[in-house]
């Protein structure tokens, strides 16, 4: 019968005293209440979110991404947060959210010209001319004659003019996005982990629903992990002004069809192996199949005069409805004492004719136990899709598919970055990362016609990326 109520820590203190008493008699170098006290008072140390099996804990991650392209182009601010809860028996639940605000000028796909160019596009709100002013990125609201067979209300368009010898960009681009995701995982019978997840993302003109399931199994005294994940994504595109007819002339008409869908199915087969005490390697093979609407509904391709190279028409782009891709990904982590090296390589190939290689290297250097720096570098090179054309030539037969989206052209992207981390306590960490990303491609392709020889035909992108994150583990 326990009559007196025990106060917090009393049993621990008496056991500590008893043990110290025993050991003090036997071994002077290790004993002493003072040493024991300093052991219990010690709160320093590196980050350790391993509460061990049998303990419930949660991890909260919050981060902010700030992205800004040079030359007044796209900028984005993206706050994100994730909470994951780990139960004693290996079950995990995580929920997260992302908000996204994007604005800035974006290349519309047309080539530059030695003459000023006019572009007309549907205004973003049907019939609400008052809310879209001419101040919006230098655009003008114009009244269009009604077109037979189209919606009667389509009377307004947005027109913008691009000066001579300038990359045509649409400056009226801004959007918000919100996304939510959740995942559940647990051990099941002899299976190390089985899990499901789902996500929902919404923008003003796009919606995405994702669902996935995965299975992983540890072998060989937990040195080997094999995993399989199945992923699906169902997207709907409902652009302002409706879905343009592929390869039709760009105008400001509202189209009757307003929504097109895309389905993506894929799997990732992964093998993770602890090779030695300090070397971890991972090999993934991923296959994806996309089918449905994959066009950028706002993007156009210039048709140029076969002699002068001056753009005469703008056509909406068109991409194949089906795309299969394969990627091979190999990641290595090497712990070399004070530094940790992470080197990953990827080879990607798809049915559109794109082949790419990626190499990503990061070297983490711990500065004492509380700080670390991690410089990083990334190299990326891709070949062009087989329907990529910087422009089409007037008088020639139209190809079935055409895009001038530089993201489907050939280019090299390089990133340099540095990260600084501060281990605030064993349970929390704060870090900032700055990166600079630049694309370079062929600005003056052979065979350019007329005035195009003088133009820069690669709309190069460069961007500064800042990332701030905080991670906190708690009971």
């Amino acid at each position: 019968m326990q009559l007196k109520k025990r106060r917090r820590g009393n049993v621990r203190k008496s056991l500590a005293r008893i043990s110290a008493g025993l050991l003090a008699a036997a071994l002077p170098p290790l004993a002493g209440q003072a040493a024991a006290q300093s052991y219990y008072d010690d709160a320093s140390g590196t980050r350790n979110n391993n509460f061990g099996p049998g303990f419930t804990y949660s991890q909260l991650d919050a981060a902010l991404l700030v992205y800004q392209e040079a030359g007044g182009r796209v900028g984005a601010i993206e706050p994100t947060a994730n909470l994951s809860m780990h139960a004693a028996d290996g079950r995990q639940l995580s929920i997260g959210g992302v908000a996204d605000s994007v604005s800035g000028a974006t290349p519309n796909g047309a080539v530059p010209s030695n003459l000023p160019q006019n572009f007309v596009t549907p205004i973003k709100a049907q019939g609400s001319s008052a809310s879209v002013t001419s101040a919006s990125g230098g655009s003008t609201i114009i009244k269009l004659p009604p077109t037979p067979g189209q919606l009667a209300t389509a009377a307004l368009g947005r027109q913008y003019t691009v000066p001579a010898n300038t990359l045509p960009m649409d400056k009226g681009f801004h959007d918000h996005r919100a996304a939510l995701n959740g995942a559940w995982a647990q051990p099941l019978g002899g299976i190390t982990e089985i899990g499901v997840g789902a996500g929902y993302s919404r923008e003003s003109d796009y919606q995405s629903i994702t669902a996935n399931t995965h299975l992983s199994q540890n072998f060989n005294a937990n040195n080997t992990t094999m995993s399989l994940s199945l992923n699906s994504e169902f997207d709907s595109s409902f652009p302002f002004g409706g879905i343009p007819t592929p390869l039709s002339v760009m105008n400001a008409q509202w189209k009757t069809q307003s929504t097109r869908d895309k389905t993506q199915l894929g799997f990732v087969l992964g093998l993770t192996q602890v090779m030695t005490r300090s070397w971890l390697t991972q090999f993934n093979y991923a296959f994806d199949q996309q089918s449905g609407y994959q066009n950028d509904p706002y993007r156009i391709v210039s048709v140029v005069d076969p002699a002068s190279g001056v753009p005469t028409q703008s056509l909406y782009e068109n991409r194949p409805q089906s795309r299969q891709s394969n990627s091979f990904y190999w990641d290595n982590k090497l712990d070399l004492g004070p530094t940790v090296t992470d080197l990953s390589l990827r080879y990607f190939t798809d049915s559109w004719g794109i082949k790419s290689v990626t190499a990503d290297l990061a070297e983490r250097l711990n500065l004492g136990s509380a700080f670390y720096v991690e410089p990083s570098a990334r190299y990326y090179h891709q070949s062009a899709a087989n329907f990529f054309h910087s422009y089409l030539v007037g008088g020639q037969a139209l190809p079935a598919y055409a895009t001038s989206d530089s993201r489907l052209g050939s280019f090299t992207g390089t990133t340099f970055g540095a990260k600084l981390g501060w281990i605030v306590s064993k349970r929390s960490e704060f870090y900032v990362k700055g990166e600079y990303y630049a694309q370079s491609g062929n600005s003056h392709p052979a065979g350019a016609i007329g005035q195009l020889k003088q133009q820069d035909l690669f709309p190069k992108t460069s961007a500064a990326i800042a990332f701030i994150g905080y991670s906190w583990d708690f009971h």
Partner: protein, 74 residues
């Protein structure tokens, strides 16, 4: 030529898999592996943000995980 290359590749895989059975450190040698920075993906939000940037600027995606982007930015 191609067949020969494939055979060599498959043989390499088989060798690698057979090697796995005894590959890797003993449990008490996993001290370094237990460090946070040796996790396969120690900073998932940072990885997701970087993947999102590259997804919206490049034609290739996936490999580390699912290729989908969950947004209309590409």
């Amino acid at each position: 030529m191609r067949t020969a290359a494939r055979t060599v590749f498959l043989a390499g895989m088989a060798l690698a898999l057979a090697g796995c059975a005894s590959l890797g450190p003993k449990p008490w040698e996993k001290d370094l592996m237990a460090r946070h920075e040796m996790l396969v993906d120690p900073y998932p939000l940072q990885t997701a943000a970087e993947d999102h940037v590259y997804f919206s600027k490049e034609a290739s995606s996936g490999g580390r995980g699912f290729a989908g982007g969950g947004c209309g930015c590409n």
